[in-house]
Amino acid sequence: MDRIPILKMGDCLLVTIQVDMHDQLAVSLQEDLTAQIARFRSRGVLIDISSLEIVDSFIGRMLANIAAMSRVLDAETVLTGMQPAVAITLVELGMSLSGIKTALNVERGMELLRQYIREDMDNVQVGDGTEE
């Protein structure tokens, strides 16, 4: 069965969803991502949905789950490239996905992730008080 490829870029993971996913594929993605975050101790996850023409409540829920699970594993998630028609429909559907960070495109998304990771690192102190 197909699985959606996950790319590793430094301490971030990058996923591009291009296909009209059936439910099983979405569930596999959730599992794969959480596994990879834990394995690589990733600090950021970027999910690009610029090719996705439909986001229904199931996919929306999946995205919200991924963000929540990632946070538990100490990684930040950014959703990029949502199409206007999809955004309008999601709002009408009643899903505002308020817990998820969003960015216009992959470039901005990576900038955002770097910013969060940097800010987070600034708060980390190791042993004798020197910053990491």
Binding site: E53, I54, D56, S57, R61, I88, T89, E92, L93, G94
Partner: protein, 133 residues
């Protein structure tokens, strides 16, 4: 009044993907705007999934309909599953029996122009939606 009509099975997860594409092409044929197409296809996805998961499989009938001089796409989702005991409750935002966000039925209603649901506990469910151009 019906201009043309087709029926599709909803028995597997792949069928849910397939009927989304069917709804999309039938709407595109009538030259719906992109936003209207997206709304209709999203509603289709929600209802097809309900048919598969709660209705234990069923069918989707897609039609081009005409009312006076306006044209639209009509979709009828039918299953012979357990049915819904309390329709008003099911139509409320947030109500869910499946651990989801409970927006499928109530959300779909907001995405279309006409929405009708008939269901009886033990006798199955029929949801009819129409999006006019």
């Amino acid at each position: 009044m019906v201009l043309k009509s087709e029926q599709h099975p909803i028995a597997t997860a792949d069928d849910v993907v397939r009927v989304r594409q069917v709804a999309r092409s039938w709407a595109a044929e009538l030259k719906f705007s992109l936003v209207d197409q997206t709304k209709l296809v999203t509603a289709t996805s929600e209802l097809a999934r309900n048919t598969l998961e709660h209705g234990r499989g069923g069918t989707m009938r897609v039609e081009h309909v005409e009312n006076g001089a306006r044209r639209g796409v009509k979709l009828i989702f039918e299953d012979k599953g357990p049915g819904i005991a309390d329709i008003n409750l099911a139509l409320r935002d947030g109500y869910t029996t499946g651990g989801g966000m409970g927006l499928g039925l109530s959300g779909s209603k907001r995405l279309v122009n006409e929405f009708d649901i008939k269901s009886e506990a033990g006798r199955g469910t029929t949801v009819t939606i129409i999006r006019w151009k």
